[in-house]
């Protein structure tokens, strides 16, 4: 596990989120010891691969829950987790303050499932008792009547130029967006936030109910995050996209046939 010491933002010559901090992207995986239930590492691997395909070097920092969160990362990733780890992780992140500081400086934050709920002002913990969230997105989450389990398809906000999302959701959360957040997408299959929308974003903070390796089948969403951190990206060689394009087509076709 890579766990690097970090230089606090106040000492760093290049503040986070400033697009010219050398050509390297610093990816920070927040609390894999608490927030990594099912394939969450996939998001890290996809971002790393797609950056490298453009010749952009990547530094990966995995930060466990007993370590301080560096403030000078470019992209922060948060995964899924059960109720108790979700509450513990939130408590520690609030006390640490590193993630909020980085987001305040314009760093990219990408969170799935439990991590997505944590970004909000409040979420439902054990027995749905409200728990204070990180307050990085104007959303509130609670527990729904039924668990949403299955393939999800959603059309992303056209202004993000990402196209269609395909993924798997597995959660019991219901999320309501406040005026400060925009829906990431509108669902055509699946539950998402529970009101026909899916995920949310504001500035460079983005969350989704697509769980686990959400970026695997959605390379254009991965590229959006990378471009937020590193500026415009050149296209990837077509042969490097072939397998993932086939996978996307297969999954989208499978759910269309099934529904």
């Amino acid at each position: 596990m890579t766990t690097n010491p970090f230089s606090p933002a106040e000492n760093s010559p290049n503040g986070p989120g400033q697009e010219k901090r050398g050509s390297q992207i610093r990816l920070v995986w927040v609390y894999p010891d608490l927030l990594s239930t099912y394939g969450d590492r996939g998001n890290l691997l996809v971002l790393e691969r797609r950056a490298k395909l453009r010749g952009v070097p990547v530094e990966i920092v995995e930060v466990n829950s007993d370590q301080p969160v560096p403030r000078d990362g470019d992209i922060y990733l948060m995964g899924g987790g059960e109720d108790l780890p979700q509450i513990l992780a939130t408590r520690r992140l609030l006390a640490d303050g590193g993630l909020q500081a980085a987001a305040g400086h314009g760093a990219v934050v990408f969170a799935v499932c439990a991590g997505y709920q944590m970004l909000g002002t409040e979420f439902g913990g054990a027995d749905d008792a409200p728990v204070q969230g990180l307050g990085l997105l104007d959303i509130r989450s609670g527990r729904g009547e039924r668990r949403a389990v299955g393939e999800i398809v959603a059309d992303v906000d056209p202004s993000l130029n990402v196209g269609q999302l395909t993924g798997f959701e597995n959660h019991q959360g219901v999320t309501r967006l406040g005026p400060g957040a925009r829906p990431l997408a509108r669902t055509t299959l699946g539950i998402g936030n529970g009101d026909g929308t899916e995920g949310a974003y504001a500035g460079r903070v983005l969350g989704t109910y697509l769980h686990g390796p959400a970026l695997v089948r959605n390379p254009s969403l991965a590229d959006l995050l990378l471009s937020w951190a590193a500026g415009p990206l050149r296209p990837v060689r077509p042969e490097a996209e072939e397998l993932v394009s086939r996978l996307r087509e297969e999954r989208l076709a499978a759910v269309t046939t099934a529904s």
Binding site: S65, G212, V244
Partner: protein, 421 residues
């Protein structure tokens, strides 16, 4: 006087009718080629007598075996290790591990005084209540088929509550798995086994208080609440078992891999609870060569094929450990039907980088998910359709092939190769 024969005669009429009708249905199901009949018989029996499992378990010495991985193999190993007791042992060897499967296993062996029953993790609380087991075996807990299985911290808490209310039951538990150790520590009587833990991604944090665990080799402890690895009485040390007297004995199993050595040590600890000595128990363990088609070697068109089944990241990690070295080609195969879990996300928890430079074939209904995963790890591969295409590809490189598949992908190959045992 045979207690069980006696007990069977005391079964109420509705239980006797239920087992007879259930048994007939199982026979019909087998004859119709719909499987081994172990579930349908139990379902029908339970519909006629909902308390049938309790009735069938009464008066027997029951062992329940659970955990994310190794249930089926350990059940078979325990059954083997208890053979020196003599007499029939009831068991659900075909992996039907929910209430109907357990019911069916007991109804098919009315005279067995001992039953060794693989039990689905979620059903442990209900099955502990229904069967009043002599021994409960807790192997390990890790992420598994998240779309249908319960979350594992939640499972551990349910085990913990159930075992806290079963004072007569002895728990045989893996002390090296912090989640399992926490669940078992509510029990009155525990035999702790150092069975090892290869997969650690689900136990970095204390199950009791959530603090990051301190880990040093196999040892672990929580600085916050004091939850720590309990002192063990049985240990797996490389290829040796160290028994409670401190004596080391070579295992020499026919089954491959560290995971199976660990399962064997657990089986020896259960045998001890039944008064079976290590030497005769181990003699029986060494005779086990395959488990419901797993680890089976079969030759097809001059190609020696070995079949390995693994269903989740921890299982794949252990299976990749036992793969024959290069140049033996490896066929990886993944489906996402109901029993596999419909979500292939878990592939991203498996580190495939060690397969770089190997001859890798990729099959199964979700081969593209696996292909994209391998691409990200820089592993070259060839896509194949079906076992015969894989054999063709393998034979261009070597006269043998290692197959690693998840549940339904494994069953499809097994059928294609003639229902190998």
């Amino acid at each position: 006087m045979d207690d069980n024969t006696h007990q069977r005669f005391r079964l109420p009429m509705r239980a006797r009718v239920a087992t007879t009708v259930g048994g007939a249905a199982a026979t019909v199901s087998r004859l119709a080629g719909k499987g081994d009949g172990s579930v349908i018989g139990g379902i029908i029996g339970l519909r006629l007598a909902p308390d049938l499992l309790s009735l069938l378990a009464a008066g027997r010495q029951v062992v329940l075996v659970t955990g994310t991985n190794g249930k089926t193999t350990t059940t078979k190993l325990i059954t083997a290790a208890l053979a020196p007791l003599g007499g029939e042992i009831a068991s659900n060897i075909y992996g039907a591990n929910m209430e109907a499967g357990l019911t069916s296993a007991l109804s098919r062996a009315p005279d067995a005084r001992v039953a060794v029953l693989e039990t689905d993790e979620k059903y442990i609380p209900a099955m502990v209540k229904a069967t009043r087991p002599k021994v409960v075996v807790l192997l390990n807990l890790s992420r598994d088929q998240m779309d249908r299985a319960a979350e594992i911290w939640l499972l551990a808490r349910r085990w913990r509550e159930a075992l806290g209310h079963a004072p007569d039951c002895r728990v045989v538990a893996n002390a090296d798995d912090p989640l399992v150790a926490w669940a078992a520590s509510s029990a009155q009587q525990v035999t702790w086994v150092a069975a090892g833990q290869r997969w650690r991604e689900d136990s970095w944090c204390c199950p009791h208080c959530g603090a990051h665990l301190q880990r040093d080799g196999d040892d672990w402890s929580c600085r916050e609440c004091g939850h720590r690895r309990p002192p063990v009485s049985w240990t797996l040390d490389e290829d040796e078992v160290i028994d409670p007297s401190g004596q080391a004995t070579k295992l020499d199993l026919a089954l491959p891999g560290r995971a199976n050595r660990s399962n064997a040590v657990v089986a020896l600890a259960v045998a001890e609870a039944f008064g079976v000595q290590l030497t005769p128990a181990l003699r029986e363990l060494r005779k086990v060569t395959s488990v419901a088609g797993r680890y089976t070697q079969v030759n097809r068109r001059g190609c020696d094929i070995r079949l390995l089944l693994a269903k989740n990241p921890a299982g794949w990690l252990e299976a990749l450990d036992v793969m024959a070295p290069a140049p033996t080609p490896i066929l990886l195969s993944v489906n996402a039907q109901g029993p596999d879990g419909r979500d292939t996300s878990w592939l991203w928890d498996v580190d495939f980088r060690r397969l770089r430079g190997r001859h890798v074939l990729v099959g199964g209904e979700r081969k593209l998910d696996l292909a994209v995963r391998l691409e990200a790890d820089g592993v070259a591969f060839k896509l194949v359709n079906g076992i015969d295409e894989a054999i063709d590809a393998a034979l261009t490189v070597a006269p043998n092939l290692e197959v690693l598949a998840n549940y339904t992908a494994f069953q499809q190959y097994r059928v294609a190769l003639g229902r190998v045992q």
